[in-house]
């Protein structure tokens, strides 16, 4: 095998879905001993391409060469046989099984030996994890390690990582990069999928940029500027966000949580401990943290989807009134609006039309007469929302499930804003949303703040939080950090809270002990 022969070579790969060509004539060469980035924004076709390489789905045309030989991967097992491993963005681990049980699903051999190997590999690449721990007790970072170890336990030649850093605090990202470089130097090729330009410039040797399912270019990221990469990825300049008019905050906190502690009744959930938050009109408060640290539980508690009768009457207040025991609809009537993290199935009913989905939360706005639905009014109100928020869809009767992630998010945010809320709570405002829509959404949130509305955001994207929030909290294992002024902290400070240390905690602990 000559040194120049690529390990993996994709030639004119095309994959069509009923509504979209996800991959259009993709050509890509991956060499051993290199970290190869696949860059592109949401919907560019990165994940589809990686699933093709891993044998999860099959292409419509084109071919795949492995060490110069044509191969057809019917399933992931075939890919693994070749030495291809993949770490998914949403992990393919089973919560109720232990680490070693999870790994033994794909790696044969007695469990005792496997445990030993897990420890060895963990030490060698600094990916330590307890083989006997139950997966549901592991942090997101640890789960990622399990997935990587699982790939390493086979005869690994190519490792695919799908947005591996999106779930990690900054400190853990650098540790991950260290491990990946070690891996590369040991001879493994790595396909690194990301939409984060800085990371790619820091880590990768080559980058293939995808745009709209096509290859927009293959470049050397170490000598290409971030600006150039961005233009290649998006195809045009991105509008910048207009931030910050220094309007005064409202006197009264429009949302107030006081010593909220809730034990989780889900064995895989997180218990919340002594949460205190205040959000005033005219400010955006963000909650940062690695997912699975209590965000979901906190969201349900604030939205009224979950009511805890053990809390004090005054534990949760909105617009000055105690709402602890009020349901979601009653809180909405007070001027609260909520955009949940899951758009399909929670924020919207996938099989229902946009008009019906409008009814979901806005029924109190004159859409009912004696309980009967005012259909004309509902149609016109939905149409208004679609127009004003630039939702690209097939009209008011299009089913929510047929919209792209970005358009559905615009629709849901639009619907909630039509309630003219005083307090808006948005979880993951731009998750899975393309850059154009994300910018529009962030700009709108800023405008809302400037008009005096109180905005609370839960997000895993630190960049986003730094871009638009005034104050920040960090959530870790159900504990919330004190309020931090966004202008006064660095991403690294936030990162330390994320992993459970407060910055400068050494002095503090000494004090406490």
């Amino acid at each position: 095998m000559s040194a120049n022969l690529p390990l993996l070579s994709l030639k004119n790969i095309t994959k069509r879905y009923p509504s979209v060509v996800a991959n259009d004539n993709i050509c890509l060469d991956v060499h051993a001993n290199s970290i190869h980035a696949v860059l592109g924004e949401n919907g560019a076709g990165k994940s589809t391409l990686m699933k093709l390489v891993y044998g999860l789905i099959q292409g419509d045309s084109g071919e795949m060469l492995w060490q110069g030989q044509r191969v057809q991967l019917r399933n992931p097992a075939a890919a693994r046989k070749l030495g291809i491993g993949m770490v998914f963005q949403h992990f393919s681990l089973f919560e109720t099984l232990s680490v070693v049980e999870n790994i033994s699903l794909t790696i044969p051999g007695p469990r005792h030996d496997l445990s030993q190997k897990i420890r060895e590999i963990g030490e060698r690449f600094q990916l330590t994890v307890n083989p006997d721990a139950s997966v549901h007790s592991l942090s997101v970072g640890e789960r990622q390690r399990v997935e990587i170890i699982r790939c390493l336990l086979q005869d690994l030649k190519l490792l695919i990582l799908d947005e591996p850093t999106s779930v990690l605090p900054p400190q853990h990202i650098s540790a991950l990069f260290k491990a990946l470089r070690k891996l590369r130097d040991s001879g493994v090729a790595i396909l690194f999928i990301s939409h984060k330009l800085e990371e790619i410039r820091e880590l990768c040797d080559t980058a293939t940029v995808l745009r709209g399912g096509k290859v927009a270019g293959t470049i050397d990221p170490t000598i290409t500027s971030t600006q150039e990469l961005a233009t290649l990825m998006i195809g045009h300049e991105v509008a910048s966000i207009q931030s910050r008019s220094d309007k005064p905050k409202s006197e009264q906190a429009l949302l107030q949580l006081e010593s909220v502690s809730v034990a989780s009744d889900d064995p895989f959930g997180t218990s919340l401990r002594d949460i205190n938050i205040q959000v005033h009109g005219g400010e955006i408060v963000g909650i940062a943290g690695v997912s699975g640290n209590g965000q979901a539980e906190l969201s349900r508690l604030i939205s009224g989807e979950q009511i805890d009768r053990n809390l004090a009457t005054n534990a949760i207040r909105m617009m000055g009134q105690p709402v602890t025991y009020l349901g979601a609809a009653q809180r909405r009537a007070l001027g609260f609006a909520f955009v949940p993290e899951e758009r399909l199935g929670r924020g919207a009913v996938p099989l229902m039309s946009l008009a019906q989905n409008t009814l979901l939360t806005t029924f109190d706005k004159g859409l009912l007469k004696g309980g009967f639905i005012q259909r004309k009014k509902l149609q016109s109100q939905t149409d208004e929302c679609i127009q004003e928020f630039d939702v690209r869809c097939g009209g008011v009767n299009a089913v929510a499930g047929s919209l792209s992630g970005g358009n559905l998010q615009k629709f849901i945010i639009g619907r909630e804003l039509m309630l003219s809320p005083k307090l808006l709570f948005v979880a993951q405002p731009t998750w899975g949303v393309d850059i154009g829509a994300a910018t529009a959404i962030r700009q709108r949130l800023l405008n809302l703040r400037d008009s005096g509305i109180a905005v609370l955001i839960v997000s895993e994207e630190l960049e986003e939080l730094f871009e638009i929030t005034d104050r920040l909290h960090v959530i870790n294992s159900g504990n919330l950090s004190p309020s931090l002024n966004t202008a006064d902290v660095t991403p690294n400070d936030i990162g330390e809270y994320m992993i459970g240390q407060s910055p400068g905690s050494k002095q503090e602990t000494r004090h406490a002990v």
Partner: protein, 308 residues
């Protein structure tokens, strides 16, 4: 045999029907498939098992054919829900209705006929022990096999790769597929295994437990088997315990009569159903425990796409 011995021995025998069917349902549910057609599968197999045994005098052949019938009916269910992605609850009911109809059709010419009963196996020495002997060591071979099977299934699910594959398919079929497990095949296999055991349960009921055929003789025992899986929180040991409990309850009528109690027989006949409801309510209250033990994707159709 004393009344007590008779009662306890009968408990094991009656429990065998529940346990066989419940073990089959357990395996299907562990792979994520809720098959509510147990009653129907048992009915068809009971009729066919009786027919074959009656005509040939061969109990073994009756069992085998009944097992095959159970598998075939379960494959109808599998085809509808796994290949054609139909709702599992509705399909289970549909196949159940079909099964009950078929059993009546098959057994029509055999109504109220009987076949000679089979003797239990007298295990030497042990069967001589007072009380314990007749209860534990003079049972039919099927009884022993069933309780042995419970142990084997429990071990397989917990400690083998096959068991891991089944459990992970039931917890998250998308992830299982991403790992390269043949999710569809595993589910087909588990449903068919459930059909096989339901078939045996039906044959045991109509050829050994009460060796006669009467339309509707399964009398809700398939449904109680489904409930048993919930009672046992998807664990074989507890399911076996529950089966014994229901075996005992279903003998209630017998005991009451032997003791000459003047309780209306209808109340005694209702007892298994009442107990089912009460136990179900008690067990289900603990939502956290249900979540921890129930297969997470139970009852959801899986269309083979890569998830989100």
């Amino acid at each position: 045999m004393s009344t007590l011995e008779f009662f306890l021995a009968g408990t094991f025998s009656a429990a065998t029907i529940f346990l066989l069917a419940a073990l089959g349902e357990l395996v299907a549910e562990k792979s994520g498939v809720l098959n509510l057609s147990v009653e129907g599968m048992m009915a068809v197999s009971a009729a066919i098992g009786f027919l074959v045994t009656y005509e040939t005098g061969n109990h073994l052949l009756g069992f085998a054919v009944a097992g095959v019938a159970g598998v075939l009916i379960s494959l109808v269910f599998a085809l509808t829900t796994i290949t054609f992605l139909a709702n599992q609850v509705a399909s289970g009911l549909a196949v159940g209705i079909l099964g009950l109809g078929l059993s009546a059709l098959i057994g029509r010419d055999y109504e109220s006929l009987t076949i000679p009963s089979t003797d239990g196996i007298q295990i030497p020495v042990l069967s001589e022990i007072p009380l314990i002997g007749p209860v534990l060591f003079q049972q039919n071979l099927v009884v022993y096999m069933t309780f042995l099977l419970a142990i084997i299934i429990g071990y397989t699910l917990k400690h083998t790769r096959l068991g891991l594959a089944i459990r992970s398919t039931g917890e998250n079929p998308h992830a299982a597929q991403a790992l390269g497990f043949p999710v569809f095949l595993i589910r087909y296999g588990c449903v068919a295994f459930g059909g096989l055991l339901a078939g045996f349960a039906g044959a045991y009921a109509s050829t050994i437990y009460t060796p006669l055929w009467a339309d509707g003789m399964i009398a809700g025992r398939g449904w109680i088997a489904v409930a048993l899986v919930v009672f046992g929180t998807w664990k074989t040991g507890r399911i076996a315990f529950g089966a014994l409990l229901f075996g005992m309850v279903s003998l209630g009528e017998l005991i009451a009569q032997s003791m000459g109690a003047s309780i209306p027989s209808q109340l005694l006949s209702s007892l298994p159903y009442i107990v089912t409801i009460v136990v179900l309510a008690i067990i289900s209250t603990d939502k956290a425990r249900m979540r921890l033990h129930s297969p997470f994707s139970l009852g959801e159709t899986f269309d083979g796409t890569e998830g989100r």
